[in-house]
């Protein structure tokens, strides 16, 4: 039983402070934190956009925003929340915890990981610069052709086409990285079926992204070529087909929904067992339900097109496949309730958000089933009913799940606890605000209010519920403010957490908070699901929980890391050195995107960007991985 030995330290004390150390870092934990902070900033920005939209819709015929401003803001709200908030917040958790949960010291390709982050930042800045460079994208986040190609002389939808393209490159790179990490970096004994469910969901999401992003990538280039180089992919008058875009977009767009929700489901599957003091009910079923959702997710895209005119046969087929997907989703929900059943539930803030996730996601899931009823969906489609549905999935679902993750893992990131009292205010305010905002939208949609409208007249019965929804939106804003105050205050003055504040189950709780750069002094050997838990507890004859006789409580178990096999053997842990080449490559890519937006003069910038990118890649290829190799 090894105890931390003084001489066993990382060989390279990478400058832990200063801007440069963050720009050059390849540490998965620091990259995860940067993803998280960037996502939070975009969450605030996207939220402010939503507040403006809600102000405009609070009353009929309002003039808070012009139609033009409204269209840009709702488009950017959608793009921001999908690509700049939920995907990166999931990436933040995956980056930070996937390697630790697997018992690894970093991801498989640390510098590629840094590249993913910086390319994502570049894509975000690129998209937002559009506000001052001719207007933001205003063709909705789905960018339907031929509206998206109707005005080639403007740049707005070029920012859309290239921005998503660049963000997609970041996601593909990080997905490849996560897949390689799961397949090659697991600690001894960490078989696939011993991985935490969160690691499983990260793996599934990585596959979803790798298979779906290239599809929309093709569509985006076609859109870009139609707009800039006179191609006619989507131009009906020249024999093109506007519906081609919808197929390409939703063949990406529907798996994307699962990309957004599955990591949150992974978090919930970690939090519920921890706070119920029981193992996850039906681990294998939860994992395989996730895989089933991902597979089926590629076969339901046309339920977004029930009004587009595919013909009754296709509509019936996609209606049935969409119904199927409710089965694995139901399995997950029932297993989560099964997890709490008979447990000893501690209702701390992470648990409240996870329970809130289950409660709200059920509503989003059921309204999803109503969409599969194709004839009835023709009334709901593109109405506020759909807006209500996907916010119940992506806010009541995903955001609640990620909030649960923040409260759960904040102690691991910072070594301090988030304040519980403030956290509970946050939860209840957000729960109230969320339901006030989005529950009425079901009614608005069924009562005939289409989405994406900048105003509505009096007399159609839309006034009251729109006003309530706006009140709800501001309640959410207050809850987010409470959350941010909690983050800032607790980072400085929160209770000291210690390594295992929640009596956790997975490996991240076996190492100090915050973890050392190399994560594990000695690589752990894994013997079961929730290995760390089983080092602390065992079961009596009745299957009841009993603390391990050797250790009281669990505090001791923290230092009791079992010696693994792949220690270097000479007491040194090689960690990759920092590198600025990933950031440089990302800068080159972003500059190229700006250049492409402003062709033909922009070709110069495309050239400069390409050369920068090549320099970055070349330097990357030839630099030594660690200083010692020099």
């Amino acid at each position: 039983m090894a105890v931390t030995t003084p001489e066993l330290t990382a060989t390279e004390p990478h400058g832990p402070t200063g801007l440069w150390s963050w720009i050059t870092t390849v540490d998965h934990k620091r990259i995860g934190i940067m993803y998280g902070i960037t996502a939070l900033v975009f969450f605030v920005v996207g939220g402010l956009e939503a507040l403006l939209l809600r102000l405009q819709l609070a009353s009929p015929n309002a003039e808070v925003l012009s139609a033009d401003a409204y269209n840009q803001l709702f488009t950017m709200h959608g793009l921001t929340m999908v690509f700049m908030v939920v995907m990166p917040i999931a990436a933040a958790f995956s980056n930070y915890f996937l390697p630790i949960m697997l018992g690894a010291r970093d991801v498989a390709f640390p510098r590629l990981n840094a590249l993913s982050y910086w390319v994502f930042v570049g894509a975000g800045l690129f998209m937002y610069s559009s506000f001052i460079l001719g207007g933001a994208p205003d063709g909705a986040w789905v960018g339907y052709a031929p509206l998206s190609t109707q005005l080639p002389e403007t740049v707005r939808m070029d920012f859309f086409a290239l921005g998503i393209q660049v963000a997609g490159i970041a996601s593909i790179a990080s997905s490849a990285n996560f897949i390689a990490t799961v397949f090659t970096m697991r600690a001894p004994g960490m078989t696939l079926m011993r991985m935490p469910v969160f690691a499983w969901m990260t793996l599934i999401v990585a596959f979803l992204l790798i298979f779906s992003l290239p599809i929309v990538g093709v569509g985006l280039w076609q859109m870009f070529f139609d707009r800039n180089f006179g191609s006619t992919f989507y131009l009906a008058a020249a024999g093109g087909d506007p519906l081609l875009w919808q197929h390409l977009f939703w063949l990406f767009g529907h798996p994307e929904v699962y990309v957004l929700i599955l990591p949150a489901m992974g978090i919930v599957s970690e939090v519920l067992p921890t706070f119920s003091r029981k193992p996850l009910f039906g681990y294998a079923f939860v994992v395989f339900a996730g895989i089933a959702i991902a597979f089926l997710g590629f076969g339901v895209w046309s339920h977004h097109m029930f009004t587009a005119g595919m013909g009754p046969l296709a509509e019936a087929g996609f209606a049935l496949s969409t119904m199927f997907i409710a089965v694995p989703t139901g399995i997950k929900i029932f297993n989560w309730i099964g997890t709490t059943w008979g447990g000893s539930l501690r209702l701390n803030t992470p648990m409240l958000f996870s329970l809130g996730f289950v409660a709200m996601f059920v509503i989003g899931g059921l309204s999803g089933v109503t969409h599969s009823i194709a004839p009835s969906d023709t009334q709901q489609h593109d109405s506020y009913y759909v807006v209500a549905h996907f916010h119940y999935v992506l806010f009541g679902g995903a955001i609640f799940g990620y909030m649960s993750g923040v409260y759960y893992w904040f102690p691991k990131w910072t070594g301090r606890m988030l304040n519980e009292t403030v956290g509970k205010w946050h939860f209840w305010l957000m729960m109230l605000g969320f339901n006030l905002t989005f529950a009425p939208m079901h009614l608005l949609g069924l009562n005939g209010m289409p989405r994406r409208i900048y105003t509505y007249p009096e007399g159609l019965g839309f006034e009251f519920w729109n006003f309530i929804a706006t009140l709800g939106a501001f309640t959410i804003a207050v809850s987010v403010l409470v959350f941010i105050v909690n983050l800032i205050w607790s980072k400085r003055k929160g209770d000291v957490a210690g390594p295992d504040p929640w009596d956790g189950r997975t490996l991240e709780w076996s190492i100090p908070s915050p973890p050392p750069e190399h994560n594990f002094d000695e690589v752990p050997v894994v013997r079961s699901v929730d290995d760390f838990w089983h080092r602390k507890y065992t079961e009596d004859e009745e299957g009841r929980l009993v603390p391990m006789p050797a250790v009281s409580g669990g505090a001791l178990a923290v230092d009791e890391t079992t010696t693994g096999g792949d220690d270097d053997g000479h007491g040194e842990i090689h960690m990759p050195s920092p590198s600025y080449y990933p950031a440089l490559t990302a800068v080159g890519m972003t500059v190229s995107a700006f250049g492409l937006t402003y062709t033909p003069w922009g070709w110069i910038a495309v050239g400069v960007g390409a050369v920068t990118m090549l320099l970055g890649l070349f330097g990357w290829a030839v630099e030594p991985v660690t200083k010692e190799d020099q």
Binding site: L345, L460, L545
Partner: protein, 368 residues
């Protein structure tokens, strides 16, 4: 501890009271509501929705009650040293909660598939009224190929669709520019209008609507600036009313010979006909169709009652404002019009003076 759980319970009660209130008010709805069907197709859809809605409510209540029960019943008691039994799963339960939803979905699947084929069935036969619907940024055009006027033009109107009660109306729809969607919730679900494609939608209305209160509808596929203002009305007539309306619409409008109307006619010929069309009867009795069909047909314009994508009622004041600068009343982008390539993004400000505007209003009024 007790106090805290009481507070939580109170909050939960508040939350569910809100949700309950929302559900309870489902019944009260406006004219554009899908929950208040006014024709057999919309009613079939509504019945299908109600079936699934109530099944969903049952599932919702069962799941939420189970969750709340678990939270209440299994909450950690600080005074007890309770050690939960470590249950890892139960295959029988897994099979059960895989099979039960699958069975429920199979039950829903049958009427769904049947409904898809029913709703999508294109009506044929001598009793069917065919209407062509063309979506434009940002107004709907309606053409009745069964009725042609003396100049050989099909009956063409905009913003108000007239249909007779109890008749199967087959809408044959396409778009002149971007994708739009035709949605009159009281009669049917929505259907997209895709450039280069035609799509069909069937409307059947139970009862005539009062002519001052027709059924409202709206474009449901985002089509840029004035998407929210791309509205239309469906005026359901008795067969006799409908026939009278058709006869009136087929009459050419009369070219004036004097007064402010003549002033308006001159402006009409020099400005409006670049985009608008009308079938007119010249003073010598000849009937001809003049102008270009890029914007709403102006024959019998004033009688429609609404204009600008059915956003406004037609009044002298609003008409004067519109002719002075259309973009003041509706967000459009006429500066980017490219008439040669058929790209029309709204009516420009032609800098008409007061006499011209008064003349045009007089002319259009005479074309009721």
């Amino acid at each position: 501890m007790v106090k805290r759980s009481q507070m939580m319970r109170r909050r939960l009660v508040l939350l569910f009271a809100t949700l309950g209130l929302a559900l309870a008010s489902c019944s009260g709805s406006g004219d554009q509501s899908a929950l208040d069907p006014k024709g057999p197709i919309a009613r079939d859809i509504d019945n299908l929705w109600l079936l699934v809605f109530w099944i969903s409510v049952v599932v919702f209540v069962l799941v939420e009650v189970a969750l709340l029960y678990a939270i209440r019943k299994f909450r950690e008691r600080p005074d007890e040293d309770f050690r939960p039994k470590q249950i890892h799963g139960n295959t029988r339960l897994e099979v059960l909660w895989t099979a039960i939803p699958a069975v429920i979905l199979a039950v829903i699947a049958v009427p769904t598939v049947a409904g898809v084929f029913n709703v999508r069935e294109i009506p044929e036969g001598p009793d069917v009224l065919e209407v062509e619907v063309i979506g434009h940024q940002w107004w709907f055009e309606f053409r009745y190929p069964a009725y042609t006027n003396a100049a050989g033009e099909p009956l063409t109107t905009a913003s108000v669709l007239h249909i007779p009660e109890d008749v199967k109306v087959n809408l044959i729809m396409t778009s002149a520019d971007v994708i739009h969607s035709f949605w009159v919730p009281a009669l049917n679900g929505k259907r997209d209008l895709v450039p280069g494609n035609t799509s069909n939608l069937t409307l059947i209305a139970d009862d005539p609507t009062p002519s001052d209160d027709p059924l409202p509808g709206q474009c449901a596929e985002y089509c840029w600036l004035a998407h929210a203002d791309m509205r239309f009305k469906v005026d359901v007539d008795t067969q006799a009313e409908f026939d009278a309306w058709v006869a009136e619409q087929l009459e050419p409008v009369v070219v004036p010979t004097s007064g402010p109307e003549l002033e308006g006619w001159e402006t009409f010929q020099s400005v409006c006909t670049a985009c608008h069309q009308a079938t007119v009867q010249q003073p010598d009795g000849t009937v001809e169709t003049i102008g270009v069909s890029l914007a709403p047909n102006l024959g019998h314009f004033w009688g429609r009652g609404v204009f600008a994508g059915a956003k406004y009622e037609i009044t002298d004041d609003l008409m004067a404002q519109w002719l002075d600068n259309p973009s003041d009343l509706k967000p459009m982008d006429p500066d980017r019009n490219d008439i040669a390539n058929g790209r029309v993004l709204g009516m420009p400000d032609f800098g008409l003076d007061g006499t011209q505007i008064d003349g045009l209003i007089a002319l259009l009024k005479s074309w009721e």
